[in-house]
Symmetry: none
Subunit: 249 residues, 2 copies
DNA sequence: TTAAATACTGCAAGATTTTGCCGTATTTTG
DNA sequence: CAAAATACGGCAAAATCTTGCAGTATTTAA
């Protein structure tokens, strides 16, 4: 592997994750840590990233979600986000709902990808603001303190005026019979509106949430075009969905 | 976890909550309190926060900005924001434009003050989200990368539908004859709309910007009801404004 | 084409940093 | 004032960094 390639890879990883561990990279590329260390040293000198003890971080941008809430099941969500990335093509217009899985997706969007991205989520907007090739359009409205997305008539109104290629709908509960359900009524309204504004609905959902039920119904399973989970395709939990949609690992 | 990440996390927490407890952070990050103590010590030495018994607090002025841009003249802006606070009464509906002075104002809003607050600024929205008694309504639209506020037709449209008690209009240039001017055309449009949506227009403005001129005109001085600056009332720079408005130290 | 020069990579030894823990001061609180 | 919480300094283990060196690959030049 050429040095150039390696360094490109490193920059890419930093772009996606905002931080890397020396050992991780060395492991992934099957070279010694010394080599990576030297690469990082060079990239640091070239001001492409910031070298820190144990690895490197991206320049000038914050590594954390702005509101500092803890994210659970980050590994799984990261895997799901990775899969979700494959659905996005250059130049598309997408809609990201709230939720930490989508935040992870936002973080992982490659720096070179050109997109127009609608979102009602404050943390996601902050994250996307750091990506120069992404045009961010924020859905205005009243900010809900705990979900950190905008809700209410104004937001729904704004949603009614758009039509996007793909909507990534962070999902709290999905059930083979009952469809998507949600705890918060205002968010239900938002998600309904998002579905109406999208040609394709993708539902990233960690396994814990599959099969669960909550108070209010958003829509039936038939409205969802793609379900993304971290489970293997043959997992029993997915059987009930097999006659309906596309599923991905 | 990298030291860098940890420290970023700490700064984030301080930026949002204005204060942190040593034990809280240690708990959240699963490291010993000693480690956090050392981090805080370093950050204190780097003047990123103020170390206190049991934790840390943010410095007198705000340096939380998600994109890591530098803020100049913080002292002055802090003083101006303090003055601006006096104009706000419990239960009012206010509109905060972008800019670091307004960000500072947002940070200084007392936690018990009940307000409804409109803003097109992403950093301000993040800051306000941490205050439980403030209802935040975000003006949606396309996010401008460098100013970090929403702009464009959609945002202006949303502004046209509201009427607030006070608008705090972050000001780039104010001139006794030419009025308020701005460099960016899109922001001009936004500010015009904000003025129309407000019963009272307040212009917080550091002395460097008084008397300066930029490319596009927003409005005449007569549209501004209050000018807030850090200068003493008898300063020569203010003479030209004396027959027009209220001025505060 | 061949030989020399140069660049790249992995390894190892010693230096440095990071981190948790412990005992002892210091501060806070009732 | 006394108990509890917090701060501080030193210590040791683990991780990471630095540096020099040697073997291999790549480029340059004759």
């Amino acid at each position: 592997m050429l040095k150039e390639e390696r360094q490109q890879f490193i920059l890419n990883e930093v772009g996606i994750h905002n931080r890397i561990l020396l050992t991780d990279i060395a492991d992934q590329l099957n070279v010694s840590v010394d080599t990576i260390r030297r690469d990082i040293k060079e990239l640091h000198a070239a001001k492409q990233l910031k070298k820190v003890h144990g690895g490197a971080v991206s320049l000038g941008f914050n590594n954390y979600n702005p509101t500092g809430k803890k994210i659970y099941s980050l590994e799984k969500k990261s895997r799901i986000a990775e899969k979700a990335l494959e659905l996005i093509k250059d130049g598309q217009v997408i809609l990201l709902s709230g939720g930490t899985t989508n935040l992870e997706l936002a973080r992982m969007l490659p720096p070179k990808l050109k997109l127009t991205c609608f979102t009602p989520s404050l943390p996601i907007a902050v994250q996307l603001l750091g990506k120069n090739n992404i045009e961010v359009i924020f859905i205005g409205g009243r900010l809900s303190k705990d979900s950190q997305i905008t809700v209410g008539g104004s937001a729904i109104n704004m949603l009614s005026e758009i039509k996007v290629d793909i909507c990534f709908l962070g999902t709290n509960s999905i059930h083979p019979m009952e469809g998507l359900t949600e705890f918060d009524w205002e968010i239900v309204q938002m998600k309904k509106a998002m579905i109406h504004s999208s040609r394709k609905v993708v539902s990233p959902c960690i396994s814990e949430k599959i099969g669960s039920l909550q108070r209010y119904k958003i829509c039936g399973v038939e409205e969802v075009d793609v379900l993304i989970t971290e489970l293997e395709p043959w997992d029993v939990k997915l059987d009930a969905f097999k006659n309906l949609n596309i599923q991905i690992l």
